[in-house]
């Protein structure tokens, strides 16, 4: 959807691919052309390189944009696209390989003079090796997949007793997600903030950094809220992070849009985590603050154009905050939920952007990521961005399945978050809330009335004999889904 929008604005024909369960999806309907590539299972569709290239050939495409998930960080795919005589919108395969293997990326960052968290610079040889290294750097540690990032194949280990189980789970996940069970270990930095720096690099050696995003609000190492500027980052630290990201990009021969991820500790020190060699889900935060269209710039860079501005031209204005609204039951440990969207109201108004593929009637399945909608608010400062985000979340209605909206609504008003005091432990420390939501008398009465109307609507399958007002009308309802 995001890519189709940029294509439309640039007058580029957009061709979409879809799996069987996505036949009704918005990206299929809004694209100029759309082609099926197989069943729901990603391996048989969205990860099937030959099928995607076949569509590109048949539709006479010039370039392939890999989106954010699936093949977006797959060097083989980038190579295959190039070998098919097409332009890959993203960094070339060899650059992805250099950064995709995480221990290699750590060595590269270190050689570029960027601080790296203490840990192994080579993949571990086995459980015994992991035990020795963990002992050497001291618990707590993180076991991480060497083959890829994005929070997959990753486990925090508090003590030696947890190492066995963590090793088994992390290597199993890593093998499934990246085709390699290799792991490395690094020191776990407590109370750290997850801060990332957006960069753009053209094919002519031009590299700029655009600004940071704080992505510390996570569950299961998956982000729920991102904002820019990061509350913990001042101008001096921002310059240092930007400089570090550019140095890594230069050392890797980077091209196109990318993100260098860092952990920022409580004393303002930072260490490099990994590079995401793709456009990220949270890129709108940077777009709102800088006024740039990152997807359009990706397309121009891929076409061989030089960056149309220099570092000194990059202006950041105000603050932006993104809420990732997911199909999850936040009251039961964020477990993914499925269902049919019965009613939808997306927010609008000043400073509010919605990136969403939702529509009423859409069936949300467990086949893919639970992300439903991104709601991004922009304001002249953090307070205004927050006020707009709160207002927008309260306007939003997604009925038919559990969503994360209650979580977002709570966090946007929670005093620590509002004060910018948070780190990667925030969700565990603040959710679920200790005090339940309470309504005033009038709202409680309204809710009680609707509870009855909705229940009657469900249990009364026959028409009510004597219609006598609004309540009876609802009693005529068929069973609700």
């Amino acid at each position: 959807m995001r890519v189709i929008r940029a294509c439309r604005e640039l007058g580029i024909r957009a061709v979409a691919v879809y799996s069987d369960v996505d036949r009704d999806a918005l990206h299929v309907r809004l694209a100029d052309e759309a082609y099926p590539i197989g069943p729901a299972s990603p391996r048989e569709s969205y990860l099937a390189i030959p099928k995607i290239l076949e569509v590109a050939r048949r539709a006479k495409c010039d370039a392939v944009h890999p989106g954010y998930g699936f093949l977006s960080e797959n060097a083989e795919f980038a190579d295959a696209v190039r070998d098919a005589g097409l332009v890959f919108v993203g960094p070339p395969g060899d650059v992805q390989r250099r950064l995709g293997e995480k221990t290699q990326a750590r060595r590269l960052a270190r050689e570029a003079g960027v601080p790296v968290a203490e840990g192994t610079l080579e993949p571990l040889q086995g459980l015994d090796h992991a035990r020795r290294e963990a002992e050497r750097i001291g618990y707590p540690v993180m076991l991480k997949a060497a083959g890829g990032g994005g929070g997959k194949g990753m486990r925090a280990v508090a003590s030696v007793g947890e190492l066995d189980a963590a090793w088994r789970l992390a290597s199993g996940e890593a093998a499934g997600a990246f085709g390699s069970a290799a792991l490395f270990v690094e020191k776990l930095i407590e109370h750290a903030r997850h801060v990332e720096m957006q960069i753009l690099a053209d094919a002519h050696g031009g590299i700029v950094w655009l600004g940071e995003r704080d992505c510390s609000i996570q569950r299961r190492h998956q982000k729920l809220i991102e904002e820019s500027p990061a509350p913990s980052v001042d101008d001096a630290l921002r310059e240092r992070l930007g400089d570090a990201a550019v140095r890594i990009a230069r050392a890797a021969g980077y091209q196109n849009a990318g993100t260098a991820e860092f952990l920022v500790d409580t004393r303002g020190g930072f260490s490099f985590l990994e590079v995401n060699t793709r456009l990220q889900v949270e890129h709108p935060v940077t777009e709102l603050v800088t006024g740039l269209d990152l997807v359009a710039l990706q397309l121009r860079i891929a076409a061989g154009e030089p960056l149309p501005f220099t570092q000194n031209d990059v202006r950041r204005r105000g603050a932006a905050i993104e809420c990732r609204i997911t199909a999850e039951d936040v009251g039961r440990g964020f477990i993914p939920a499925t269902g049919r969207i019965a009613l939808l109201r997306e927010p609008a108004g000043p400073g509010v952007r919605v990136d969403s593929g939702l529509f009423a009637g859409l069936t949300v399945t467990s086949d893919y990521d639970p992300l439903l909608m991104k709601l991004i608010a922009h304001g002249s400062d953090r307070a205004e961005a927050l006020a707009r985000a709160r207002r927008a979340v309260r306007e939003t209605i997604v009925a038919g399945l559990p969503t994360s909206l209650a979580f977002h609504s709570y966090v946007l008003e929670e005093p620590d978050f509002v004060a910018g005091r948070y780190d990667t432990g925030y969700v565990a420390a603040h959710w679920p809330p200790r005090t339940p939501t309470t309504l005033d008398e009038s709202a409680t009465t309204a809710a009680a009335l609707v509870a009855v109307l909705a229940t009657r609507g469900r249990v009364t399958r026959r028409p009510v004999a004597s219609p006598d007002g609004a309540w009876a009308r609802s009693g005529r309802e068929e069973a609700l889904r």
């Binding site: 994005g150 929070g151 997959k152 189980a165 789970l169 199993g172 996940e173 499934g176 299961r220 998956q222 039961r332 440990g333 477990i335 993914p336 939920a337 499925t338 009613l343 467990s366 979340v393 309260r394 306007e395 209605i397 997604v398 009925a399 038919g400 559990p402 909206l405 209650a406 609504s409 339940p436 939501t437 309470t438 309504l439 009038s442 709202a443 409680t444 009465t445 309204a446 809710a447 009680a448 009335l449 609707v450 509870a451 009855v452 109307l453 909705a454 229940t455 009657r456 609507g457 469900r458 006598d468 007002g469 609004a470 309540w471 009876a472 009308r473 609802s474 309802e477 068929e478 609700l480």
Partner: protein, 165 residues
């Protein structure tokens, strides 16, 4: 018809009188209600206060009340009385259910196995993570409902464990 209604931690009695009047805890309340989306969304005015209430999910019932998500339930008096009469679940027998939809990747036990409490029973792959499902108690696996490689829905019964001494 009289209903026992809960909204969050509040309990109220709602009486929809046959003449169209609406009583809450035996007091008549003047309300103006319009159904905006059939069976889903209502606009409710009470003494000038405007409320928008949306039915988010039915089972369990969740309402969005002016942007606040609330758990709710409404039982007519007879159903409420019946609900109070149901007894607690049978002890000694544990059903292991999928906490979320996902792919059952590995089954670590066989029927008849005696397992310790917190022993890993199966590995469920969901949400990009592998999750180990642990034995809720020391006991014998009396039934395995699904095998490895099966895609399961959230809440699906996976195994039955009988507590052992």
């Amino acid at each position: 018809m009289i209903y026992e209604v809960s909204v969050g931690d509040r309990r109220v009695r709602v009486d929809l009188a046959g003449d169209g009047r609406f009583l809450i805890d035996d007091a008549v309340v003047a309300v103006d209600t319009t159904e905006i989306v059939r069976g889903r969304q209502w606009s409710v005015r009470i003494a000038g206060r405007s409320h928008e209430v949306t039915l988010l999910t039915l089972d369990p019932m969740r309402l969005l009340v002016d942007g606040h998500e609330m758990e709710a339930s409404a039982l007519d008096e007879r159903a409420a009385a019946a609900a109070r009469g149901t007894s607690a679940a049978r002890g000694g027998r544990h059903e292991v259910r999928a906490p979320m939809p996902g792919l059952l990747k590995t089954v670590h036990v066989a029927e008849g196995d005696l397992v310790e409490r917190d022993a890993p029973l199966m590995t469920l792959e969901a949400m990009k993570m592998e999750n180990e499902l642990l034995a809720p108690a020391r006991g014998r696996v009396v039934r395995l409902a699904v095998g490895a490689g099966t895609k399961v829905e959230g809440g699906a019964m996976l195994a039955v464990l009988e507590e052992a001494e």
